[in-house]
Symmetry: C2
Subunit: 347 residues, 2 copies
C-alpha cells in the first residue's frame, strides 16, 4: 500500500504543490494509466465525478429539463472553438466532423422541448502547446443545456444555482474523498459577481496584462483574472469579434454579444460558456459571412432557421474542468479516467 501511495503522490499534483513535467513524462504517465487509475486519489476523483454528474442531472430534471442524446458526428459542427482544429471523418464517402460542440443541434431540440440538456462528447484538437495551460484536453464532455425563450440573465441564474447545488452535494456526499484530496471546497455565495468583458479587460490591463477590448481573453490572462478572486464570477457582454456566428448580437448595442463565461476562482479558469442565440436566418447569414464561414456548408441548419426556431439561450459546462475545480487538481488530465491530451498519444 505504502508504495502505491508514494507513486500517487508524485502523480497527483494538487494545486498547492505544483510540479513541472515535460512531454515525455506526461506521455509515460498517461500510457501507464492502468496503474494510476488504481491510486486512492484517482479513485476519489472518479467517485466525486460520479456525484457531480448525478447532481447536475438531478438539478436539471427537477427544474424541468429533459435529457436528450447528443450527436457524435455530423456534416458541420461548432466553428467557434478558439483556434482548436475540428476532426474530419469519412461518413460513407461524405466529409463529416466529430462534434466540437452540439450548439446547432440544441437550437433544433429546443423548438420541440422547452428545456433540454445532454452529456455531449466533444473533440477539439487544441494546439500542442496548450498542454501547458493544464486545463485543455483534446476530448472532453460538456453538460450542455438550452432553454427556449430565455434571456442570458435567466440562464446565468440557472448556472449559479446549478453550481451551488452541486458543490453543496459534493461537500455532503464526498467528505472522505475531499479529505483524501486535501481539498477544502467552498460553496460559493449568491449572487455571483458579474463584470462586463470591458470591465474585465480594464482590470487585467491595470494589472499589466495585454488584452484588447475587441478580443477574446487569452488563456494566460484568463488564469490571471481567475486568481484575483476566491469565488466564481461571470464575465458577460463579449465583443462580437471574439465569438461564433450563433451568439446573439444585442439589437440595441451594436457589436456586443448577449453572452457570458463563468470563471472559477483560484486560477482554475473558464467553467461555463454560453449566451443567447441568433435565430433569424438573415442575421445568421450575415454573421457567417463576416466570420468568413461558408453558408453552403450549413445547409440543414439554415433551412431550419428559414422555417423558424424558438429564440433560446443556454450554455455548456465542461465536466472535466468542473471536476478539476471541485477536487482542486493542478492538471486537467487528473480529472478524467482516460485523458486525451493535446499532441500526446495515449489510451
Amino acid at each position: 500500500m505504502e508504495k502505491i501511495y508514494i507513486e500517487a503522490d508524485q502523480f497527483f499534483v494538487i494545486h498547492r504543490r505544483p510540479l513541472v513535467m515535460d512531454r515525455q513524462e506526461i506521455r509515460r504517465l498517461l500510457m501507464e494509466r492502468y496503474r494510476r487509475i488504481k491510486d486512492p486519489e484517482m479513485r476519489s476523483v472518479l467517485r466525486v465525478q460520479d456525484e457531480i454528474l448525478s447532481a447536475l442531472r438531478d438539478f436539471l430534471r427537477r427544474n424541468g429539463f429533459v435529457e436528450i442524446l447528443a450527436p457524435i458526428i455530423g456534416p458541420v459542427t461548432d466553428p467557434g472553438i478558439r483556434g482548436a482544429k475540428q476532426v474530419s471523418v469519412d461518413f460513407y464517402g461524405h466529409g463529416f466532423k466529430i462534434m466540437s460542440s452540439m450548439i446547432l443541434y440544441k437550437q433544433m431540440a429546443v423548438s420541440s422541448l422547452e428545456r433540454v440538456f445532454a452529456l455531449s462528447p466533444n473533440v477539439r484538437l487544441e494546439p500542442s502547446e496548450s498542454i501547458e495551460t493544464g486545463r485543455h484536453l483534446s476530448e472532453f464532455r460538456q453538460l450542455d443545456l438550452e432553454v427556449a425563450n430565455a434571456s442570458y440573465f435567466d440562464i446565468m441564474d440557472i448556472g449559479e444555482r446549478m453550481v451551488i447545488y452541486t458543490c453543496r452535494r459534493i461537500r455532503e456526499a464526498c467528505r472522505d474523498e475531499l479529505l483524501l484530496l486535501e481539498r477544502d471546497l467552498k460553496v460559493p455565495s449568491v449572487p455571483f459577481r458579474k463584470m462586463t468583458h470591458e470591465e474585465a479587460v480594464e482590470l487585467l490591463r491595470s494589472e499589466g496584462y495585454k488584452v484588447n477590448k475587441g478580443d477574446e481573453i487569452p488563456w494566460v490572462a484568463e488564469e490571471a483574472i481567475s486568481r484575483m478572486f476566491d469565488e466564481p464570477f461571470w464575465i458577460y457582454d463579449y465583443p462580437m469579434t471574439a465569438r461564433g456566428f450563433y451568439d446573439r448580437e444585442d439589437p440595441k448595442r451594436s457589436g456586443i454579444l448577449m453572452d457570458f463565461d463563468l470563471i472559477y476562482p483560484e486560477g482554475f479558469g473558464e467553467a461555463i460558456s454560453g449566451g443567447e442565440r441568433e435565430f433569424q436566418l438573415e442575421r445568421v447569414m450575415a454573421r457567417m459571412r463576416s466570420n468568413g464561414e461558408d453558408p453552403e456548408a450549413y445547409g440543414w441548419y439554415l433551412e431550419m432557421l428559414g422555417e423558424g426556431v424558438s429564440p433560446s439561450a443556454g450554455f455548456g459546462i465542461g465536466v472535466e474542468r468542473f471536476t478539476r475545480y471541485v477536487c482542486g487538481l493542478e492538471k486537467i488530465w487528473e480529472a478524467v479516467p482516460f485523458p486525451k491530451v493535446p499532441g500526446i498519444v495515449s489510451p
Copy 2:
C-alpha cells in the same frame, strides 16, 4: 395542430402499421428532422428516453455502480462489430479510431472501481443495406457496465432486474406518452427465459432458417426468433468463432464463450450483448492471433494485461434500441433526436 398531427402519423410508423420507405424518402425525412422533432409522437419518445436514461442510472447507482466518462476516440477500439467498419481519425498525425465500443477501457476501470458504468458514444459504419433491418444506426449510445470478479450469470441477473425496474418506471412515469404512442408496454416477468446458442440455432432451423452452429445469428434470424416470444429472453454460450478476442472461453468447455445476448420479443431483436472477459495476457494474445488481429496495435492494452487486471464481466445495452422497444417503434431512427442512418447524409 391537426395538420402537424397528420404529418406525424405518416412519419411515425408504429410497429402495428408498418410502411416501406425508399432511401430517398428516408433521407428527406431525416433532413427535415427540425420539423419532425416538434411532432407530438417525437416529443413523447424523447420524454420516454429521458426517463429511461434516468431509470437506468438510478438503478445502477443504487446497486453500487460508479458512473465514469467514456472515451470518444483512441488508438484502438473494439474489433468485434459484426461486419461494420470502424471510423479513422487523424490525432496529431497518429491514426486513431472513434470508439466502436469502450470494452477495452472498461477492463481498465474495473481494476480501480469494482462496479462501473458509462453512457458511451459509439460510431460503427454498418453496411448501407442494414438500413432495411430498421434497427441499425451508424452512431448510437450504449449504457455500458462492468463488474469485477463477477460471473456472466451474475451479470445477466443485473440485466434482468435493470430492464424490469426501467419498464416499471416508464409505465408509471410516462403513462400519457405511452398512450399517445399507442404502446401497451408490459413489464417482463422473472426469471427471463434462457436458451443456449445451440438451442436457439436448433429452434431457428426447425422453423426453416439457415443458421450454422458455429456462427453469429444473422439479422433476419435474430428478428425471427425475437418474434417467437412475447417476453425478453437470453441466448448464452456463443461459439468462439462468432465473437471478439475479449469474450472469455469457458476453461472447461473448449470453443464455448461465457457470454450472452438479451433479445427483445415482438421482433425488436438484440437488446444487450455481454459476457465474461478474457483477462490473461497469453490467452488474449492467442485469441487475437486466431481472429487475425495484430497484437502490435493493442500496445497499452496488452501492457495492462501483462501487469494484471481484475477478472470481470459486463454488458452494453443500446439506448436507442431500448427506447425503440419501450415505445414500440418500427424504425430505430424514430428513437433518437438526431439519427445517423447507414449510408444516408443527414444532420
